[in-house]
């Protein structure tokens, strides 16, 4: 079990979350050309090692998180809210 330190809920089993995907992808503007969308939607670095990825705390606070995790060891280096506004709200709460 991977244990993810949710910035809102604390440390929880990964089974409460769903894995999103590669968080390094910057989705293009809606009116960007198909080539840019093709790159974002289909192509992946597929890093073996520390990667930045999204998780959704679907059975918790429903926050989307940005997680730095080693895909080889599952070690997590950092977790933060994907939404920057939420990040600052939670910092204030501490």
């Amino acid at each position: 079990m991977i244990r993810i330190k949710c910035p809102f809920c604390g440390e929880r089993d990964h089974s409460e979350f769903t894995y999103g995907g590669d968080a390094s992808i910057v989705y293009p503007a809606l009116d960007a050309p198909a080539e840019e969308w093709h790159e974002a939607v289909f192509m992946r670095e597929n890093i073996r090692g520390m990667q930045t990825e999204t998780w959704h705390h679907v059975n918790g606070c429903r926050m989307w998180l940005i997680v730095q995790r080693d895909t080889m060891t599952h070690e997590i280096r950092s977790v933060r809210p994907a939404h920057e506004g939420l990040a600052s709200v939670l910092e204030d709460d501490q």
Binding site: M1, I2, D13, H14, S15, T18, Y19, G21, D22, E35, H38, E39, V41, F42, M43, R44, E45, N46, R48, Q51, E53, W55, T71, M72, T73, H74
Partner: protein, 421 residues
């Protein structure tokens, strides 16, 4: 080379088992080969075998970082079927099944392919109709396929959960020619077959770099020295992206995920067929090996991973599914669970294709389905490498299909690799 036969088994029994040769040699890598295949897994070995057999090319090396058959070859639930319906997939997997049917004879190695029937359970009229489309397509393309009603299913597999199932079983879709095979034997059989043609299988030889000059690959750099090649093929499921980067080629529509597999303690015959079901968000498949172990599995671990270790949530899920269709399995004990890494592609379909580099070829993206695809994958990859053009059957097995908008996604799950389990 001693042929494998009952006669020779008998003879060696009398003479102390002294007459058997090495199943494959342990050659030193040469400086140069006509073709170098990276990855001595099932697909790499099959490719080498068919390159030699179908195309008469003998100057081939298969390089492997560990031991041959050590990747997903040894970590799968050994199911062989061809119940695909999308263009391309349909004929590819059917060709594979035909090759399976004679593989033991072709390799003179008993891969124990047993056509014990593949049974997909159905739980609702809607699911039955959706499945009927697939099985009708199979029939219209000359592949046996059946829909069983509940009575037939009860007769054939009497101890499924017909009484208390959360999702009552209403029947099944069946491919009788499908079944299971002995996974290690397939790797060893292809290795032996290729070796007999003179292919060098070089184990403990990790590729550390890919040398390119003038738009062509000239050599692979390995832990056992540089190996020159006129053509290079990649067949390293799970690690494709890393090798791709070594070749300086950027991104691929692939993510590496892990899938767990499970085996129970050995039991006297309990289940004669391969049984599969997917309902209520669960996905499960089970068969019984010749040794008696129940071999089963379910979904991916749902997160990207290169670690060959599973975690407990899927163990739990799979156990739920197991006892939900075979209630007698409650007291049966799990003996081992382990996990393998696989290339999950954006549409659940594979790549056998040319690459931006002229003499480099890619075989990747097998998702869950690599084992059953082994013979055809080797067959068509060999054909691609030998002739430098894809057979029409595999024309959409290229990376460019996403740019073209071609959809051969059997599940319709969309561009999210974890959903293609």
């Amino acid at each position: 080379m001693t042929r494998y036969s009952a006669w020779n088994v008998f003879k060696n029994g009398i003479t102390g088992q002294k007459g058997w040769d090495r199943v494959w040699r342990d050659p030193q890598p040469k400086d140069n080969y006509e073709i170098v295949i990276v990855g001595a897994g099932l697909h790499g070995l099959a490719t080498a075998f068919y390159l030699a057999k179908n195309h008469g090319i003998r100057n081939i090396a298969v390089v492997e970082k560990g031991w041959l058959g050590g990747g997903n070859a040894g970590r799968n639930t050994t199911i062989v079927r061809s119940n695909y319906m999308m263009p391309g997939n349909r004929f590819f997997y059917e060709h594979s099944l035909k090759l399976w049917e004679n593989l033991s004879h072709e390799l003179n190695f008993n891969v124990m392919f047993s056509q014990r029937a593949h049974i997909s359970l159905l739980h609702s009229p809607a699911a039955r109709d959706a499945t009927a489309r697939r099985y009708n397509t199979m029939r219209l393309t000359d592949t046996g396929a059946e829909l069983w009603d509940l009575e037939t299913l009860k007769r054939e597999v009497p101890h499924l959960n017909y009484d208390n199932a959360r999702f009552p079983i209403i029947g099944a879709a069946v491919q009788r020619r499908a079944g299971s095979a002995r996974h290690d034997a397939v790797a060893w059989g292809y290795a032996r077959g290729a070796d007999q043609y003179g292919v060098d299988i070089i184990q403990n030889c990790e590729v550390t770099g890919v040398r390119r000059e003038n738009g062509r690959v000239t050599a692979v750099e390995t832990t056992r020295g540089d190996i020159g090649a006129a053509k290079v093929g990649f067949a390293v499921a799970g690690n494709t992206s890393r090798l791709w980067r070594m070749a300086g080629l950027g991104k691929l529509p692939i993510e590496t995920h892990k899938l767990q597999a499970f085996v129970s303690e050995p039991l006297k015959p309990l289940l004669d067929q391969v049984v599969v079901f997917g309902v209520g968000g669960a996905h499960f498949y089970i068969s019984q090996s010749d040794k008696g172990g129940m071999v089963f599995g379910g979904d991916l671990d749902w997160y990207k991973s290169y670690a060959q270790r599973g975690n407990l949530p899927i163990v739990q899920d799979v156990a739920e599914a197991a006892t939900s269709i075979l209630p007698c399995l409650g007291r049966v004990r799990l003996l081992r669970h382990w996990s393998g890494v696989m290339d999950m592609s954006m549409d659940g379909s594979p790549f056998i294709c040319k690459t931006p580099v002229d003499n480099l070829y890619l075989n990747a993206g097998w998702n869950y389905g690599g084992f059953k695809a082994t013979p055809a994958s080797g067959w068509y990859f060999a054909d691609l490498i030998a002739n430098d053009r894809p057979d029409p059957i595999i024309e959409n097995f290229d990376v460019g299909r996403f740019a073209r908008g071609v959809n051969i996604d059997e599940r319709g799950a969309g561009p999210d690799p974890k959903l293609h389990g």
